[in-house]
Subunit: 409 residues, 2 copies
């Protein structure tokens, strides 16, 4: 399969001044891949007509598709229309339909300066097709170039994304959507090797592993295989990874936990110390979580562990807050007080301070209570992960322990 060369240009001084991270490029590139385009260059430029025009001229000459985002608003900084006009040698003409759409916005602006500015949004490249705005006011436009197609889209992602879909409708779909596998509790390299082994038996499937603390995803990309082979490859990779692979369908770990809980009519509660509310926040992030998630206690102080979860004050004093006994009692306390089927307790030393020789930063102890009793798991981070990374990883471990209980239910 020969890839068609494409390029992406993002316009805006905030991008080249470091004031905003460009997320449009990744979104557009992923979508282009499905239509058989390969992006050779993605360029960000500031609000400079000369620079932007030179970049567009160069890229339009040898790319079948050039997608440009940003710089289509009504202000003097919005230079994309003018730059494209100069680059392609196409005059800008006023589009009567866009003028009608913009007219209601004029009422708010009495000064003629502002009125003139608003009407710059009605300027389109001669021969261009207009893509109406569904959100926002700036319309997009698509025009034929000697080498292919050039599209101008607005910069805000929520305005850009639906218009991109409209632009791409004119190109056939050549690749299936990527298959997105979620993995918990394995290092990135293990997932990498497992995918490599499993995919040796498949042609036309590329893959990449994306890792953040507590969240590893394997993306299988259609490189000619087609949807059926891609499905078979996903099943093979999931089997090779084993039960650490919780989803082949792009679910987050919290989504998987809630789905399993709903399917088995199992209610959940949590008792958090070092994760400080992150497990509850991850679960309640999902709409409908209230069906099975009853609630949680963030017991940061020892007094709260006693008063709200019924942890034994003597055990706390003897064993310390980070101990298997306290993790067990936190889980049991949450299960009892919320009347839940499954409860998880998390206690640990998130750092950077608070570590001792016996209980160093990175020690986290989990308790899981069910009708069958309570068990614990102790983890010790290798190296010196950041507080944020340690908390994220502990959140994932806690959700994974609940998931494994739900798989038995």
């Amino acid at each position: 399969m020969n890839a068609r060369p494409a390029a992406i240009v993002t316009v805006g001084s905030e991008l080249v001044e470091g004031l905003r991270v460009d997320t449009n490029t990744a979104h557009i590139a992923l979508r282009l891949g499905r239509h058989g385009f390969a992006v050779t260059e993605a360029v960000s430029v500031g609000d400079d007509v000369g620079v932007c025009s030179a970049v567009l001229r160069r890229l339009a000459a040898d790319h079948e598709l050039v997608i440009v985002t940003g710089g289509l608003g009504p202000t003097h900084d919005d230079i994309t229309r003018e730059a494209a006009s100069s680059a392609l040698g196409l005059p800008l003409v006023t589009d009567a339909e866009i003028v009608e759409i913009l007219r209601p916005f004029l009422a708010r602006h009495a000064e003629s300066d502002a009125r003139d500015q608003i009407f710059t949004q009605a300027l389109v490249l001669e021969g261009a097709e207009v893509i109406p705005a569904t959100t926002g006011t700036a319309p997009g436009q698509v025009v034929a170039t000697p080498g292919g197609t050039l599209a101008l889209l607005p910069g805000p992602p929520s305005e850009m994304a639906p218009m991109l879909d409209v632009v791409l409708e004119r190109f056939d779909t050549r690749r299936a959507a990527p298959r997105d596998l979620g993995v918990v509790g394995l290092p990135e390299s293990d997932v990498q090797f497992a995918a490599q082994r499993a995919l040796a038996a498949f042609d036309g499937v590329a893959f990449t592993v994306l890792a953040r603390p507590g969240d590893v995803r394997a993306l299988l990309i259609d490189d000619g295989a087609g949807p059926d082979v891609l499905d078979a490859a996903a099943i093979a990779v999931a089997a090779e990874i084993g039960d650490a692979c919780y989803s082949q369908a792009g679910e987050t770990l919290a989504e998987t936990v809630l789905r399993l809980a709903r399917d088995t009519a199992t209610t959940i509660a949590v008792a958090e110390s070092c994760t400080g509310g992150m497990v509850a926040a991850a679960l309640t992030d999902i709409p409908g979580s209230s069906e099975v998630f009853l609630g949680g206690v963030v017991s940061y102080s020892n007094a709260a562990k006693v008063a709200l979860l019924g942890v034994d004050a003597g055990v706390l004093a003897e064993q310390g807050a980070v101990s298997t006994e306290v993790a067990e009692q936190m889980a049991i306390g949450a299960r009892t007080r919320f009347g839940a089927d499954v409860a998880v307790g998390i206690t640990g030393v998130a750092g950077p301070g608070g570590g001792t020789a016996e209980k160093p930063v990175g020690l986290v102890i989990f308790g899981v209570a069910t009708a069958n009793g309570v068990k614990t798991r102790t983890t010790q981070a290798v190296g010196t992960p950041s507080r944020a990374a340690l908390r994220a990883r502990s959140t994932a471990t806690a959700l994974d322990l609940v998931r494994r209980e739900l798989l038995k239910a």
Copy 2:
């Protein structure tokens, strides 16, 4: 002040395939600005020697500084060294010191293939200065070009950032660090207008407003003003914004709340329904939060509101979970049960389901309990914000209500 032209090149197929969002460009661009560089182009390319080499040749010709990240690892995909060598016409030579640094890593890899690959990391452009890796194994390098300087840095942000600082040490600092103001509870446009009004009296200060749900930041950028004028401008903008501006020093809202609580020896507890743990998670994200944050209850079910917070079951039945009475009782319950000085309760309809004509999606009610009693605040989102945006905004409002109590303490 004449800006010196600079360019950024990020190398990696994952960037142009849309599998990873490039955050290096924004980080580098912001740092370059302080040294008087203006980035005219930021380009992402895949792991393609020909494309990368052509881009580097073009940019090195007319930019005083070109920063390249990525593609410096030991695998066949790591093409940046070769591309730079071809672009600049400089041969690659083996650096004996890097060989010594890499030697320990050889022990793990018996196969000669892997050994050869590891040693590709010891190849440097002839005449380049090596920047040793402080994290990771890939060293960076800086080399003089006919037009200025080219630096090759590794792709992982944590490896790249410290090396970038080393590279930039050779250029004088021309601008003060931006002043970073945090604002809560005002729309982006109000902050924009307030900054505009305040900055009319100052020369050489640029600004930008960055908004995410519940978090608006005004960045004041040194455009020739210098640090003293920038400080005065920050004070003027903060005064114009009023008490919605909680920090002029880059603090997050949670950091400000914890600082105020520590300064006034005030303890905090929370009772969360629709924010589901996000307020507790935001506070516990900050190291040392355990000094003043005692804990929280995530009372997602009505039964939990009664059992863990002492909310009156009759009031719940009559008024519903989203009511001023329940918000008050949640705050009072959290304050009493945790023994805290200040407690905030949050109850609302986060959507997308669960709304009624009387209590629509976006209705959120807050209670704040102190020794002086309890008060409430009711907010109704305009339009149809996403669940995530509504939760983020409600988290900010809850933290802001605590902040305003702490300012009185």
